[in-house]
């Protein structure tokens, strides 16, 4: 239970000292509301799903932009529309199923009926019954559709924005990040949906962002990764803030040859378990399907991470639910021409991540220990100066540059 969080009328001041983050940003409910307005519902793009989830005309699924419920639906022209899931009449959620197939959308309350572009097609008793009642003559159906968001797609991913001011998706993501995303959504391969994992974290969404932009922890907290050399602090690594810190690229290198080598660097790895062995080694022996020995974790602010851990490919949607609750929604995918071995490999390696993942557990457990301390000690400061105090790109895992750059961007956006 969150203790009564303080939400100062006057915003608190960010600490002067460089490379510090104040703990109160993780528990203030009014700040949380403002973040949603500035970021998620503001001039940004949010990932909302994959095209392959709604393959046919009439296919739909529910999703979220920030905290707002939306419907992702493919209309009969094959276009994808993202509609707010709120009836224009009296505000009921129109769509109550998480996914399905529909010819149109009818609100259960008074049966107002919308087409798949969100236009109000009709409503019962528009002209009354037996000469009585009905809507005013000047009622304009075209002004009472479902709110429709801007939509862009890329490589099978679908994005939405509430903002007319937001730049194009391409410009918003930026070229460096785009290249990384395109790599895991190759133009010549069709996506295959493998399934979902959904996880509720008892922490502020920014703590999750920090965690997932933090290579420093990966080689220490995650004994499993370390022990099997899936992540090595001594192989090439890139931590690249892009678009002024808004996004962040983490790319590591995996080589089966050096995966278990010990040296001066690994001696600092207090989590290395040299005598820990597993029997089914396929879990930790990925095939280099993209031909570059790389593993990636891409933070596309504010809504999503793209990850490739070995042959486990997933999109991780970050859904802030309150100042102390965050939902992770993982969509795992493969490609249509995956052979049975690759299909099995992706499923097996999925055991690494998610709410029951060999490394996923470590993160969710740590985050559950962070939020209470942030709430109970809101005036405390986080120290983020590993790798220096700058916000540039670093070529090492032992750096917090992606967190510093994130907060540089955050403060500028929030005026903090």
């Amino acid at each position: 239970m969150t203790p009564a969080a303080q939400s100062s009328a006057a915003p608190r001041a960010w600490p002067e000292e460089a490379a510090r983050v104040p703990a109160w940003i993780y528990s203030d409910p009014a700040l949380f509301e403002r973040e949603l307005e500035v970021f998620h519902h503001g001039a940004t793009w949010s990932y909302v799903g994959l095209e392959c989830e709604i393959p046919e005309p009439g296919s739909y699924k529910r999703s979220w932009v920030g905290r707002r419920p939306v419907i992702l639906v493919r209309d009969k022209d094959g276009e994808i529309n993202v509609l707010e899931n709120r009836c224009a009449h009296r505000g009921t959620m129109v769509c109550w199923q998480n996914r399905g197939q529909a010819k149109d959308l009818t609100c259960p309350y008074h049966h107002w009926n919308y087409d798949l572009k969100g236009n109000l097609q009709g409503l019962p008793f528009l002209r009354g019954a037996l000469g009585k009642g009905g809507m005013p003559r000047d009622f304009d159906k075209s002004a009472h559709g479902l709110r429709r968001l801007r939509v862009e797609r890329r490589g099978g991913t679908v994005w939405a924005s509430y903002s007319e001011e937001a730049p194009s998706l391409e410009a918003f993501i930026g070229p460096e990040m785009l290249a990384c995303i395109d790599r895991v959504f190759p133009a010549n391969r069709r996506l295959r949906l493998i399934g979902y994992n959904r996880q509720h974290l008892p922490c502020n969404w920014k703590l999750y962002f920090e965690n997932s932009r933090d290579p420093y922890h990966a080689g220490l907290l995650h004994s499993f990764f370390v022990t099997f050399g899936l992540l090595r602090t001594d192989t090439p690594f890139r931590a690249v803030p892009t678009e002024g810190g808004r996004h962040g690229i983490m790319a590591s290198t995996y080589s089966p040859e050096t995966a278990s080598q010990q040296n001066e660097v690994t001696q600092q790895l207090t989590s290395w378990r040299p005598d820990f062995r597993i029997q089914d080694m396929e879990l930790v022996k990925p095939v280099d399907e993209f031909g570059d020995s790389s593993m990636i974790n891409l933070s596309v602010f504010p809504s999503v991470f793209f990850q490739q851990h070995g042959n486990c490919l997933a999109v991780r949607q970050i859904l802030p639910k309150s100042q102390s609750e965050t939902e992770l929604s993982w969509t795992h995918y493969g490609f249509e021409n995956d052979d049975p071995a690759m299909q099995a490999r992706r499923l097996k390696q999925a055991n690494l991540v998610g709410p029951a993942g060999y490394v996923g557990i470590d993160d969710s457990e740590v985050l559950a220990q962070l939020q209470p301390s942030a709430e109970k000690l809101p005036e405390a400061l986080q120290v983020v100066e590993m790798g220096g105090r700058d916000t540039g790109a670093h070529e090492t895992m032992v750096s917090e540059t992606l967190i510093r750059s994130f907060y540089a961007f955050y403060r500028a956006s929030m005026g903090l």
């Binding site: 959904r198 996880q199 820990f276 062995r277 795992h332 499923l347 709410p355 060999y358 969710s364 559950a368």
Partner: protein
């Protein structure tokens, strides 16, 4: 397999159902006692163990939150929990009920059971972690019944923080 369904149960079927109740209880107690080393012994060599959301299961999506295909992976899961996984201490408590025998053919049966899992973290009251249904294939060939398949299909839309101890 012959489907047992709503027909009247034979004496044999009632005996197998009783056996399955014992099996389910023994299995749950093994986990509640945190005797993880004994857990793989409830399975056949070709074990197909999965913890999967109702969402994936009903849509025919293959992804599980946790899966072990073969005893080796069961053993690996236990080894990792004991050696590498970082987690807050907790107690797990199972209630298992509504055991049904769905089909019985020779020494193989298809069975199900409902489960509720309660989790007690180190400084809090217990909470409901998960409810769902076991979908099992059990071999009765040996001196003890063994799971060939145990799919734990959970009703939760989301998993609360982490799923650490197998279901």
């Amino acid at each position: 397999m012959t489907t047992v369904a709503t027909t009247v149960a034979t004496q044999k079927e009632r005996e197998v159902r009783a056996l399955l109740r014992d099996l389910n209880d023994d299995y749950a107690v093994c986990l509640d006692d945190m005797e993880l080393a004994r857990w793989p012994d409830f399975f056949e060599e070709e074990a197909d163990y999965r913890v999967v959301s109702r969402e994936n299961h009903e849509q025919g999506l293959e992804l599980s939150a946790l899966s072990c295909t073969g005893r080796a992976m069961l053993l690996d899961r236990v080894a990792a929990l004991e050696s590498t996984t970082v987690y807050e201490p907790r107690a797990i408590r199972h209630l298992v009920g509504c055991v049904t025998l769905d089909a019985l053919e020779g020494e193989l049966c298809r069975a199900r059971a409902n489960f509720a899992l309660y989790e007690s973290l180190s400084d809090r009251e217990p909470h409901l972690l998960m409810v769902g249904r076991y979908l099992d294939v059990v071999s009765l060939a040996g001196e003890r019944p063994l799971f060939r398949q145990r799919w734990c299909v959970y009703d939760n839309y989301r998993i609360r923080t982490s799923l650490i101890i197998p279901v």
